[in-house]
Symmetry: C2
Subunit: 307 residues, 2 copies
């Protein structure tokens, strides 16, 4: 039930109205792996530079995250610098340096090529396809994408979609990729492009899942304070994919429960800067919030048959 | 289990990107009553002018809505003219004329004064208090409000809050009335001001309910097309209050089920201009969408006890 994740591992400088984190561990694959590892073994496929800190390597290794396919190359690690508005749904990228990630050509180890579960984090569709091509017969493939790839590598992305099971993207990206302004039509349009499930991430408003003949909607877990929303989507994907790998099946029920676990993991991630909260998290905390989440969304349905 | 609703009945001119309705039946009390009547008898307390159309009076009467406290006065009926943006969460009020509603002094009939259920739609807090004062011993009182009253009649509104059980308002209004920018803190702050339940309406993102020791969140029912969002909040309140009156109790369970019924009613209301869809609705349609709604939000919870 091992999961392969390909994506970035880097250093983020994050500014919010309430504080700042400098050169903190980040990147889509970091958040994903630190969430998924609670459910299933995870192998991280990525590139870092010679400046990658020993302490961060230890952080992954101590949590049993497989780093055999983390390639250390001459040069600097991926870096991102962003600033959030008071409305944390909005942020500006102040600088983005791919550094060693620019020339990254992922190579999976022999045993990793027979993995059952694969998550293609938010990187170029070509790189996503390259990793997918190396995995012989995956049971479940999920991929994330973003506006940049939709605008600039649309053809490669569209070619990838029939090869994946689960697509995650935000509401604006769903509209952009489908060409439909209504979100329900957008979701249904994306299903026709290949994936069997489309998960639209709506930030503080939760997630909407589209399937062949079903719709599922969950709110986000309401928090009194959000410190740093960075990585929430990747953490969500980690909880989701971790649960799917753990259960070994892609069904309506496992997807729904996985979406709830993903939402739980994301709600913890945003409570502190960087991966701080995720790294310190315990299974009891996850289990407690899972129960709260179920209570939060349980409509106590008592349909009336009057009239 | 009869419900008294005080609010506006008027004529709306509504422009959207897709069409226009001219002098169509509207007003908070109209939407509320046409939704609530599926669950419980409703008495409408309002004022209209001599131009109020016979056909609209018939529309209410044919649906067993009590109009004995609908006062017809010399002058014109309340009128509103609004235009929606492409993003239907945004709209501009082009004109608003209270007309005969400006001098309205509600007077309940003797039997109405012993009603158990009362909904104070979005009118001035003073008028809301005046109606509340006439009802001897209501079992459940709910009230709606808006930014205009929060800004201009804050003192009267705050004085009203300890006298009501359920407060409904939108997210921006919740922040404004509580003085808290975080929605969870805003909801908890509003609870301290009096109501035992605070329902924050988030339009297409659903509803968040705050109670003494519980939180409940539901998404809105996802629609392929929204024709006219006017009255969605009042329709929601109608379904909610109707269900509460029908069940006769204000508990966590009845509130949650009521919120789902309210969401179902609102999802129908926005499918057509004005009250057109609500007026034509059948109980079977409500029941069908209620089932879909439960399926939409059912997380198939299967908590894992591993680790």
């Amino acid at each position: 039930m091992s999961i392969i994740v390909v994506g970035t591992v880097g250093y983020d400088t994050i500014e919010t109205q309430g504080g700042k984190a400098i050169e903190a561990l980040g990147g889509s694959a970091s958040y994903f792996a630190l969430a998924a590892r609670f459910f299933s073994p995870v192998s991280l496929v990525t590139a870092v530079g010679t400046d990658f800190r020993k302490a961060d390597e230890e952080l992954f290794l101590e949590r049993s995250i497989d780093l055999r396919a983390l390639r250390k190359s001459p040069g600097e690690t991926f870096r991102w610098h962003g600033r959030y508005h008071e409305d944390m749904n909005l942020r500006d990228t102040l600088s983005l340096k791919l550094n060693v990630f620019a020339d990254f050509r992922p190579e999976l180890l022999a045993d990793q090529c027979s993995a059952d579960y694969l998550f293609l984090a938010n990187i170029s569709p070509e790189l996503q396809a390259e990793v997918l091509g190396q995995v012989k017969s995956p049971k479940i493939v999920a991929a994330d994408t973003m506006d940049h790839w939709i605008a600039n590598e649309r053809a490669a992305l569209i070619k990838l979609l029939p090869r994946i099971d689960v697509l995650t993207l935000n509401d604006q990206e769903a509209r952009m990729l489908s060409g439909e302004s209504n979100l329900v039509r957008a979701g249904r349009g994306l299903l026709k492009m290949g994936p069997s499930a489309v998960l639209v991430k709506r930030g503080e408003y939760g997630v909407l899942k589209f399937g062949a003949d079903s719709l599922f909607a969950v709110p986000a877990y309401p928090l009194e304070e959000v410190v740093d929303p960075t990585g929430a989507g990747d953490t969500f994907a980690g909880g989701l994919m971790g649960y799917l790998a753990r259960s070994g099946r892609l069904t309506e029920a496992t997807l729904r429960t996985g979406i709830v676990y993903g939402s739980v993991m994301a709600s913890y991630a945003v409570e502190r800067f960087s991966v701080e909260r995720l790294a310190a998290l315990t299974w009891d905390e996850i289990d407690n919030r899972y129960r709260s989440f179920i209570e939060l969304t349980d409509s106590h349905h008592s349909r009336w048959n009057f009239q």
